[in-house]
């Protein structure tokens, strides 16, 4: 019996392989559009010309910004019984960097697309996952049991290397003995950091980041770049350097030469979560990425969200409370909100413009890496030589981060069309220049860049593409360059200013769900505290 050949011939006879098919001719524009956070708004904030408030409202708490942090704060306020609050979000939909979309083929993420297993220090997040039914119970050893369909389905990752796909992202296929030796040593170092605790008893690296140890033995790593650290450990393998560079770009939006060594180590060593029914390095994901989490956070508070409201001033009022002025794009009017407390959940580059007076511009650089993501609707999933399609598909030595497959988590048997989300952190040049370049590109130019990258691994991609929507994130992620994460000034940024509280992943110095969520919950507890005898 010769099953594979027969199967191949069957599929060839059945399908497009050798027969003519409708092919998008090269050179014809790909349908789709440019989407993304409105650039117009940023511009308006800079120019700062808003009409004076036309009317006034009063609420106990006003939340500004409906990303993960803002929604987490809102949900927590609701849980605490503080019902009189409002959330102002400038976009038509809440979600921020975790927003998602959907077309006739599949839901898909626009930005954030997965979370890792929370470790013991992430108590708020663990509690959330229990409430959402993501953690369904505990096993005899007390390890959380996760909802199986939310764990990334096997196979999770593959890498295109030397003309073939290999399983997993560490570039092992064709690696020399020297490379393997260095992979091994790198792994040992990370294992050591994972277990390490500082002189203050705290884990050396953990999430939330502010629960990590401040022991200078570890924080010293924040003074050098990730590459400098590798060299200092006598790790020079090109493959290992590529791998760490990929990780830095993927998680921090910066290269191995831009991101601090502490951040790079933190990425690996802070993953101390465990599960009864999964390997520790497994992630949680959904067809629409973290858009699923957004949907869950938003659901109980949906009625309290005012979208298309741009907050342009947050200031203490004469009674020691807060007044928030926001522009409503619907009515083209400004509205003034009087509140006992406010929780500002906007990115820091916005916060420092709208909150007055704010005497805490930190004395370290706040750098934002621009990103681009694209959702491609394909006639079918391309395979390629070697290991078959996985959830995350990465190309060795590409400047992109590859793509994730939105339909991967689907329980149904695949039937033709799919959506893939392609990502790139734009970090080749200075952030501002990259941001400008990215904003200037047309849809057609982005499509060519994206297809060019994909053609390397899937020469047939042009024939498969039906649509490409592109999203440019001008201020995608705050970048943990050396000196940011372990700077004492960073923790001060999060301190409330009177009745104004702050919550956003920027305050953590890098951008992940857990940081944004924890800050939102903490700020809600603090903001609700003076109002009623709630247990905080």
């Amino acid at each position: 019996m010769n099953t594979t050949r027969r199967q191949f011939l069957a599929s060839a006879a059945a399908g497009s392989l050798l027969l003519p098919s409708c092919v998008r001719r090269a050179g014809k524009p790909v349908p789709g559009s440019l989407v993304g956070p409105s650039a117009e708004t940023g511009h308006r904030l800079r120019v700062g010309q808003f009409p004076p408030p036309a009317r006034e409202e009063k609420h106990a708490v006003v939340i500004v910004g409906g990303g993960v942090a803002g929604l987490a704060a809102a949900r927590k306020l609701q849980q605490l019984g503080c019902g009189d609050f409002l959330l102002l979000e400038l976009e038509p939909e809440p979600g921020g960097n975790s927003r998602s979309g959907e077309n006739s083929v599949s839901p898909y993420p626009w930005g954030a697309h997965y979370v890792t297993l929370p470790g013991e220090d992430a108590t708020e997040v663990l509690e959330l996952y229990e409430e959402l039914g993501l953690i369904t119970g505990k096993n005899a050893d007390g390890l959380p049991v996760y909802e199986e369909s939310a764990l990334v389905a096997d196979p999770s990752e593959r890498l295109f290397l030397n003309g073939r796909w290999q399983e997993d992202l560490l570039p092992t296929s064709g690696a020399t003995g020297l490379d393997r030796g260095e992979f091994e040593r790198f792994h040992t170092l990370i294992t050591h950091f994972k277990a390490a605790r500082g002189n203050d008893g705290a884990r050396a690296f953990t999430i939330p980041v502010d629960r990590s140890s401040t022991d200078p033995r570890f924080t010293a790593l924040d003074q050098i770049t990730a590459r400098q650290w590798l060299h200092s450990e006598n790790l020079h393998s090109e493959r290992l350097h590529w791998y760490l560079d990929y990780v830095c770009r993927d998680d921090f939006g910066g290269t191995i030469d831009q991101v601090s060594a502490w951040a790079a180590v933190h990425y690996f060593a802070s993953r101390n979560g465990r599960a009864a029914n999964a390997d520790p390095d497994v992630v949680l994901t959904w067809p629409n990425g973290n858009g699923w989490l957004i949907g869950q956070l938003r659901e109980p508070v949906a009625a309290k969200i005012r979208t298309r409201h741009l907050a342009w001033s947050v200031a203490p009022n004469s009674e020691g409370k807060v007044q928030i002025d926001a522009f409503d794009f619907e009515s083209n009017q400004s509205v003034r909100f009087q509140a006992n407390t406010a929780i500002v959940c906007t990115p820091w580059f916005v916060t420092r413009k709208i909150v007055q007076p704010l005497s805490r511009n930190p004395d370290f650089p706040l750098e934002y890496g621009p990103w681009v993501s694209a959702n491609l609707t394909l006639r079918e999933l391309p395979a390629g030589a070697g290991f078959g399609p996985a959830w995350d598909n990465v190309f060795y030595n590409s400047r992109s981060l590859g793509y994730v497959v939105a339909t991967h988590q689907s329980l149904a048997q695949p039937k033709g069309p799919t959506v893939i989300t392609w990502y790139a952190a734009l970090c080749d040049g200075p952030a501002a220049a990259e941001r400008e370049k990215a904003a200037a590109r047309s849809h057609a130019q982005w499509c060519e860049i994206i297809l060019e990258d994909l053609r390397r691994v899937h020469p047939e991609i042009d024939a498969l593409v039906r649509n490409i929507d592109v999203c440019v994130w001008g201020h995608g992620m705050i970048r943990p360059v050396p000196g940011v994460l372990c700077h004492p000034g960073r923790k001060q940024m999060a301190q409330p200013a009177g009745a104004i509280h702050f919550a956003h992943s920027d305050l953590s110095g890098f951008s992940v769900f857990e940081e944004a969520y924890t800050r939102g919950v903490q700020a809600a507890k603090a903001a609700a505290h003076p109002l009623a005898p709630f247990s905080a």
């Binding site: 060839a12 050798l18 027969l19 389905a153 196979p155 329980l411 048997q413 039937k415 024939a463």
Partner: protein, 507 residues
């Protein structure tokens, strides 16, 4: 008799043929490269080795050209016909042989070598033919100009027009025809300078006829190369949205293949389907509502209908083409005893997992007859997540029967299904049966609680009796239980085991 053409016209026509030859030559090379990457994967390697071998072969051809001493024109024309024939049929040949021969690479490179060599002979011969008609410096400049322009044309035509609009097999025949026409036109122009012109002409016309037939019959050639893979006569082929359906008929046999995998043979399918259904269903005390997942051929339904107390059978199969076929096609409907037209049977064409998730009703007995877990998508139907869903729709005294591959060939895979069921709280009773066309085949009977015995089998069955049925649950040492991991969506242990174990049985 027409007047011989002027020298100038002859020269022009010969140069035009350089152009045509160059285009054809490159097209054959691209076809071989593309086919090799389609069939063998790793396009970079395939393309560079095919191009390398092809160019090298052209070198051999150029060198061989010096051995053509007399009758250059005749040789040139013969070479054209040969290239036309071999190059033109190359895609069809490669495609057909891929399924038939063991070392496809040998065939591939042999063919590339042959076509390359013949193409390599062309230009040197033409140069020599033209050398007395054109001044040498003009000759070289003109021939190579046309050669390179032809190559450019081919490399543009190939991806933009040929592959999308004609497909590889047709394109290859088309250029074979063009090559042959070059030969025939040259022959006609210069017939008075060529010995045995008439003979050449008949060869050329025959080649042309063959290639034209190939061009017209491309689809049939593809179909034939498929049917050559099956031992019996193919009587039905169809591609649904999900799979390639092939039905073959031999001496009192009828077989169904999905994506090339045998699903049943009429000779012994009763063994499989009796074993799939009766050990479980005969022991379920209340069996009003039965669910069949997969099994769109209606053969399991046929067995279930032998129990008069079954009131309702829901058959969920992904592929409407299959259930249609086994409802309407007489030969096939006869095989399942018109089971799918029985009023007790409700057919649902849906994805089993998503359908199951949406169900609130319960069933007394469920048959899960899915394809083997040979890929990660099908593997999802054998996971703890799926078995938890099954449990949700099963009545407390019910049972499920699960086809679970061969415990002989894939012992660990088989026991992995058992262990997975047990991991989510099922009581699992594995058993096996010998089906000649499959070999030893395994099933698992699983239930939330102990099943009451003894079974009451419906009469008459062809294979199972109370005695043979008991024997099914015995496992000899070479198929006996082994410890394995538990198959979950996030580890797909089963698919990985299955691939390892079956790889020794297939190429």
């Amino acid at each position: 008799m027409p007047q011989p053409l002027s020298e100038r016209a002859v020269r022009l026509l010969l140069l035009a043929s350089v152009f045509a030859i160059a285009t054809c030559g490159l097209v054959y090379e691209l076809i071989a490269g593309t086919l090799a990457s389609y069939l063998l994967g790793d396009s970079v390697t395939q393309f560079s080795t095919v191009i390398g071998v092809y160019l090298f072969a052209m070198g051999i051809g150029s060198w061989l050209s010096k051995y053509a001493e007399r009758n250059l024109l005749g040789t040139f024309i013969q070479v054209e016909f040969l290239i036309g024939l071999i190059g033109g049929a190359s895609a069809a040949l490669l495609f057909t042989l891929f399924g038939l021969v063991d070392s496809f690479r040998v065939v591939l490179y042999a063919l590339v070598l042959l076509v390359g060599t013949l193409v390599g002979i062309e230009i040197p011969l033409l140069l020599r033919i033209l050398k007395d008609r054109i001044v040498f410096k003009d000759l070289v400049s003109q021939v190579f100009t046309f050669d390179y322009i032809g190559a450019l044309l081919a490399s543009l035509l190939f991806p933009l027009v040929l592959v999308p609009h004609l497909g590889l097999v047709r394109s290859s025949f088309l250029f074979g025809i063009l090559n042959t026409l070059v030969g025939l036109v040259s022959l006609w122009l210069l017939r008075d300078q060529i010995p045995w012109a008439r003979g050449h002409q008949s060869v050329g016309l025959a080649t042309l006829a063959l290639l034209a037939a190939g061009f017209i019959q491309s689809d049939q050639i593809l179909a034939w190369s498929e049917s050559a893979q099956y031992p019996d006569k193919v009587i039905h082929t169809r591609s649904s949205a999900y799979q390639r359906i092939v039905i073959t008929r031999g001496q009192d046999d009828l077989r169904l293949y999905l994506n090339g995998n045998l699903q049943f043979s009429r000779r012994d399918e009763y063994r499989y389907h009796e074993a799939l259904v009766h050990p479980g269903l005969s022991r379920v005390p209340e069996r009003r509502r039965v669910l069949v997942l997969g099994g769109g051929d209606g053969l399991a339904v046929r067995e279930i209908l032998k129990y008069p107390d079954v009131e309702e059978i829901t058959l969920v199969d992904l592929d409407p083409e299959i259930t249609e076929l086994f409802t309407r096609q007489d030969l096939l409907a006869a095989l399942n005893g018109n089971a799918l037209r029985n009023p007790k049977v409700k057919i649902v064409n849906a994805d089993a997992f998503t359908w199951l998730k949406s169900q609130t009703a319960t069933f007394d007995f469920v048959v899960a007859d899915f394809p083997d877990p040979s890929n990660f998508s099908v593997g999802k139907l054998y996971t703890t997540a799926f078995y938890r869903e099954l449990r949700r729709v099963l009545s407390p005294a019910g049972a499920v029967a699960i086809q679970s591959t061969s415990p002989y060939v894939a012992r660990q895979s088989f026991w992995c299904v058992v262990n997975t069921l047990e991991a989510v709280g099922w009581i699992a009773a594995p058993y096996h049966v010998y089906v000649p066309s499959f070999g030893e085949w395994g099933f698992v009977l699983a239930s939330p609680g102990p099943l009451p015995g003894p079974p009451k089998l419906p009469a008459p069955l062809r294979y199972l009796t109370p005695e043979t049925m008991n024997a099914l649950f015995d496992f000899p040492p070479d198929m006996n239980a082994v410890p394995t991991g538990v198959n979950q969506l996030n580890n797909q242990v089963l698919v990985r085991l299955f691939e390892q174990e079956w790889k020794h049985f297939v190429h």
